[in-house]
Symmetry: C2
Subunit: 316 residues, 2 copies
């Protein structure tokens, strides 16, 4: 199993990426071979310092970096030697089985959608975010901000994707799917929610439990919370700000501590045909380690095969 | 100044309503005369117990109550002797200068819009919610859940209404108005946010400072945060759930304590032609007291005149 890691992506790369690799190799028993994509000159001294097991990794040199604020499409096109462009090239040509980057999110999405492609039948690939629960587990909210305007059919596909993710990656046997809404009963909400409810209700691929509200997103009412990416992104950023608040105000609470992004690492792009994981720009060692763990789990559980089976191509 | 109070509205009425009246009369120096609308038989013993100053209130008997889960339009039409119907009748006929209820929110909105009417030029009356800030003040978010689907022009009107509320009621000299969005730059967001941004930018009635994100809603980046009522309601309920969480987990923090709804009382219906305040169903004494204080302030500051001046009727 070969996992590609963009060593140049994120605010603290390449140092924290190297530290994350070391943390992974030191703490996780694995047969993963890591393909470290980045500027060899920058990487070699850091890797020497970290004393990584040489049998566990190889380096693929990249001479360019896509900056965090560059225009995604333009940058990917013009910087063919960037770590992100090379990562997608390797993934597309089956040289790696998954690709991880904490770099430019837009470039990662463009690469995932245009070089790796959506799975047949999936209209809009999506990204999710975990929402921590007090019982120690986490709910899956999607879309977390990629698809700001959605149709009801998109939300139904998010529900199926989130459900499979929850089942195979988070180990929830029969994930309860909730529609984010502003009231409990069917018929409540905006036009999108009103139109989506009956579609979710009749869908036999998921275990739909009805509407969930803003107060429910951190509870066990639903394991998967579905919404368009505008509201989803607002929820995600509000949750992050509560963590920052707790640090600033010195609130010591083991549950609130789990609102820290580092606990989770990154989010897979669900609905594209190969495992792609996007990390937060502020990712440090733990986040990089956790993204590698997630990639390994996506490959081991054959999540993408399960997704492909759930979206069968129509026979002509 | 005469303020009408529905004594039968809310989960803990009429007892907590009476307690709220007592708290108001005991702690706030005022020339307000309270018009207590409710079932005389239920009220009299409670009022006797509370030993209210008889010069400060009068009772208007109502023989019916609209339940929290009744259909708003139907209930208002059929229960003409309900406390809410009588309250709107008194307000419409200038017998009271403001009307407050913690009862059926839908019935309050229907009454506000159909018996009191929107101010000329206002397309959609709205409700707001305070969002506490660490500096002790509060931001104003609107719409908080009444208008789930909005057009850009609605959001612009919310911005003007919220700005006037922030200035006259909360005492912010030149309120900064932010558009809730999922990115910082102009051009980001869903179609609604993209179309609203330029309208806010060119509006000379407000001090528009650009986009704010989920992480900014509790900060001093903007004093007024504008969004459609779907996302607004999700934010409000998430904020409430953080308070519940802090209680459940015994987190002692004076800032988090201000996420308690009781601190604020209720929300005015902004954009209708008389002061109408809607309380939370769970309102207790402090919330009732604070709603009376808010009503008094709306009358004293002539907020509604300021709003009417900001929406001048077109001269034919």
């Amino acid at each position: 199993m070969r996992i590609g890691l963009d060593m140049m992506g994120g605010d603290f790369a390449p140092l924290e990426a190297v530290k994350g690799v070391k943390l992974f190799l030191d703490t996780v028993a694995t047969n993963v071979h890591l393909v470290l994509i980045g500027d060899e000159q920058a990487l070699l001294p850091l890797i020497a310092d970290a004393q990584l097991d040489q049998s566990k990794y190889s380096i693929v040199h990249s001479s360019q970096v896509i900056g965090m604020n560059e225009h995604p499409t333009k940058a990917l096109k013009e910087k063919q030697q960037s770590s992100i462009a090379i990562g997608f090239y390797l993934l597309q040509h089956k040289k790696i089985d998954a690709f991880i980057s904490a770099g430019n999110t837009g470039a990662m999405m463009v690469g995932a959608i245009y070089s790796i492609k959506p799975i047949d039948g999936i209209q809009r690939p999506t990204i999710s975010t975990p929402l921590p629960r007090e019982d120690g587990s986490a709910n899956t909210l999607l879309d977390a901000g990629i698809n700001a305007d959605c149709k009801p059919e998109n939300l139904v596909q998010f529900a199926v994707l989130g459900s499979l993710y929850s089942q195979y990656i988070l180990g929830v046997p029969q994930p309860k799917v909730g529609l984010l809404n502003i009231g409990e009963e069917e018929g409540k909400g905006n036009l999108l929610a009103q139109a989506t409810y009956p579609l979710l209700k009749e869908n036999e691929q998921i275990h739909f439990i009805g509407n969930v509200e803003g107060r429910d997103v951190f509870t066990d009412k639903a394991d998967v919370v579905v919404c368009e990416g505008f509201t989803g992104n607002v929820i995600l950023k509000m949750a992050e700000s509560f963590y920052d608040l707790s640090v600033r105000r010195n609130i010591q609470d083991e549950y609130i501590a789990r609102f820290d992004f580092e606990t989770y690492g990154g989010t897979p792009v669900l609905g594209v045909s190969e495992p792609v994981i996007i990390g937060h720009g502020i990712s440090k060692a733990t986040a990089f380690k956790n993204m590698i763990v997630l990639a390994e789990k996506m490959i081991e559980t054959k999540l993408l095969d399960k997704i492909k089976e759930s979206f069968p191509t129509k026979v002509e």
